[in-house]
């Protein structure tokens, strides 16, 4: 058996390989489930029902899919340039901080001002997320510091900042209006008009999800239809060639990190506007959901293609949602992470088949090497 590098990729392969990887992943997960004493088919049936087909399941799935759509796009935007921004987690927190700040600043207004709230929250969140991402970006561009570690460390710092704002200070975000709120720290409730609208009846689509799809579209235009994306691709494939061609690598690093951080930040705004309506600083709230890390799974499965990210986000969102719904003795809490890991392993293994061709050659036993050449 031999591996040969492919010179061209047939178009169907980039669809067939991810699907094949998923099939293999679910087969492995099935074996794991059976080995740990669960009924595989029953578990799968429950996941599909709780995640997709049950009544209200799809609406709940979109709620889970929205944040990871943003963090997935954030990861995809950066990973495309071999810039490993693992900091979407922290950038999302900062986005939530920014969005809740501006919403509280705007204060109580009538219902017609919701568009103003949406725009203001997105802008503030994008700005703060981008700034947080620019810390590792600047360090990478000017000091050549490994962005994986710095962006990751900043996740912990951002998490501690959230806890600090709500639990250990009388910050602007903390609700200190009542005695009860002072005893049990919580964030201020957002003004009524800052609640983002939803669309659809049988399947409720949050505004954040639609914004995510818009962001995916914008990313696609930027990366596949514009000079910017072309240069990003060249820098990713060959930094040296990019430099000789006069491309400004430093500027690209800063731009890509800012874009990535801004998208993750808007994900934080959507958390505030669409779902929580208050800044949740508790370690079991926003921080426990690990949206940023799940976003990496989404981006990698989607092979950093923005449209595929939308699809995969719904798929993984369904899995997460099924995880929340089914949590109990039959469906222990870590199972979703295990499944994500196995799916990602299989997708990574499948990449091999995209880049290489398996060729089975038979070496006849006893033939001396070189004899066939003459």
């Amino acid at each position: 058996m031999k591996l040969e590098r492919r010179l061209t990729q047939p178009w169907w392969l980039s669809v067939a390989v991810p699907i094949g990887s998923l099939v293999v992943a679910f087969a492995i997960i099935g074996v794991v489930l059976a080995l740990t004493g669960h009924d595989t088919w029953e578990t799968y049936r429950k996941i599909v029902e709780a995640g997709f087909t049950g009544s209200g399941a799809m609406s709940a799935t979109l709620i889970s899919a929205t944040p990871i759509l943003f963090t997935g796009l954030a990861a995809a935007a950066a990973f495309r340039m071999q810039l490993f921004n693992i900091g979407a987690e922290g950038q999302l927190y900062l986005g939530a901080v920014g969005a809740s700040w501006i919403a509280l600043q705007l204060g109580d207004r009538d219902a017609t001002s919701t568009p103003l709230f949406v725009v203001a929250m997105c802008v503030a969140a994008a700005a703060l997320g981008a700034l947080w991402a620019l810390i590792p970006g600047v360090l990478r561009a000017f000091a050549r510091t490994n962005e994986i570690i710095t962006s990751l460390m900043l996740n912990y710092v951002a998490g501690l900042l959230l806890t600090y704002l709500i639990f250990d200070s009388s910050s602007y975000w903390r609700d200190t209006s009542t005695l009860q709120a002072r005893a049990f720290p919580q964030g201020k409730p957002m003004p009524e008009a800052s609640n983002w609208p939803t669309f659809g009846a049988s399947v409720v689509v949050p505004l954040g999800f639609l914004l995510g799809i818009l962001a995916a579209l914008a990313l696609w235009v930027l990366y596949s239809r514009m000079r910017f994306g072309f240069e990003v691709g060249v820098i990713a494939d060959s930094p040296r060639a990019a430099r000789y061609a006069g491309m400004r690598t430093r500027r690209k690093i800063l731009a890509v990190m800012a874009i990535s951080g801004a998208i993750a930040g808007i994900g934080g705004a959507s958390q505030i506007g669409d779902f929580t309506h208050t800044l949740d600083g508790s370690p079991t709230g926003l921080q426990a959901a690990a949206f940023g890390y799940t976003g990496i799974v989404v981006a990698a499965l989607a092979r950093y293609n923005p449209f595929a990210v939308c699809l995969v986000a719904v798929l993984i969102g369904g899995l997460l949602n099924a995880g929340y719904t089914l949590q109990g003795p039959d469906f222990p809490s870590g199972l979703v992470g295990v499944m994500q890991g196995i799916i990602l392993f299989c997708a990574l293994g499948g990449e091999l088949l995209l880049r290489y061709r398996l060729r089975i050659t038979r070496v006849r036993a006893g033939t001396p090497i070189g004899e066939g050449a003459t």
Binding site: I148, I149, G337, G349
Partner: protein, 323 residues
């Protein structure tokens, strides 16, 4: 009040306690990286090692030392098993090392396999039966200053010193160590020399994983005996360990220095809180993470301009046909 109760001595003694898991994990990552494989799964391997080690002590009847020894061994095996997945993906299947390592952390970490095991086995509700206690070496534990710092630590600490020495000697003074470095620097040349690149990489990634498993056991059997769900048990130690390898310029003896430096930063909040010093706790908890960034920047701008120590083939899969 004796000098041994002073804040500085307590923090230094705790620095060694908290630095020990960092040291194990960094030494493991060092071995993997020296053979040319970056493994970002340290955090996941540590958490899994912690869970499995704690579970083992629960299941073993017998004397404390024997149970603890077995538990550490099982933790090591667990770490090595996880590392084998990463090794297979990046060495045999030539997958991207960064994404595969992250996948390993997601798979095994606080929201994955460790949490799965924790809930399936009900680890969080179990009180610790066995835990590493401080050995008063040669009765020197009461010496002023050096006593509590050097002579009143657990067996895990003393084992880590021996391990550091062994890793340093192995990499620097043995034929195998030379081969490892060759595999990490120039795999094609190593291959031409007759060194089995694939085998060397597999072995070192898996041994590295075993060290990370032991690092996890340091938490669940020594620092805070027991199991808590999520990332809280380990914090961000796995990631700090990866950064440590860079600070240490890929040298074992410098890993020790760095580990204790960051051990001190991790120990400081608890020591200050015990003294009821009024400092915002979040600020202190953030200190190790912020310092990691600061030191990393210093290292990458100043000394390492000439890329001291980084294996040249780090992160690059080796394919014989394409050399």
């Amino acid at each position: 009040m004796s000098v041994n109760d002073s804040l500085i001595v307590i923090v230094l003694a705790q620095a060694i306690l908290y630095g020990t898991p960092l040291l194990y994990a960094a030494l493991g990552e060092l071995l993997a990286e020296r053979s040319g494989v970056l493994n970002l799964g340290v955090q996941g391997m540590m958490l899994f090692g912690a869970a499995v080690g704690f579970w083992t002590t629960q299941r073993i009847d017998g004397s404390g030392p024997a149970a603890l020894f077995l538990a550490v061994l099982v933790s090591a095996l667990a770490g090595a098993a996880l590392a084998a997945i990463h090794a297979f993906l990046v060495i045999t299947l030539r997958a991207n090392q960064i994404v595969s390592g992250l996948a390993l952390t997601i798979f095994a970490g606080g929201l994955g396999l460790s949490a799965y095991l924790g809930t399936e086995l009900g680890l969080a509700d179990l009180p610790a039966v066995h835990q590493f206690s401080d050995l008063d070496v040669l009765g020197l534990g009461d010496l002023p200053v050096v006593g509590p710092i050097l002579f009143d630590q657990s067996a895990l600490v003393y084992a880590s010193w021996i391990l550091t020495l062994l890793v340093a000697l192995y990499l620097g003074r043995t034929r195998w160590g030379l081969n490892v470095r060759a595999v990490g620097e120039a795999p094609a040349s190593a291959d031409a020399m007759g060194v089995n690149v694939t085998l060397y990489r597999y072995v070192h990634v898996m041994v590295g994983g075993a060290f990370a498993g032991v690092a996890g056991a340091c938490y669940s059997l020594s620092i805070t005996p027991g199991w808590t769900a999520g990332d809280t048990l380990v914090g961000g130690a796995g990631w700090i360990a990866i950064a440590l390898v860079i600070f240490a310029f890929w040298r074992a003896e410098l890993c020790l220095v760095g580990a204790y430096l960051f051990g001190a930063l991790s120990a400081l909040p608890f020591a200050l809180q015990a003294r009821e010093v009024d400092v915002t706790p979040e600020f202190l908890y953030a200190l190790p993470y912020v310092m990691t960034i600061v030191v990393l920047v210093l290292v990458s701008t100043g000394l390492a301009r000439r890329r001291l120590g980084a294996p040249a083939a780090l992160g690059v899969p080796y394919v014989r046909e394409e050399r």
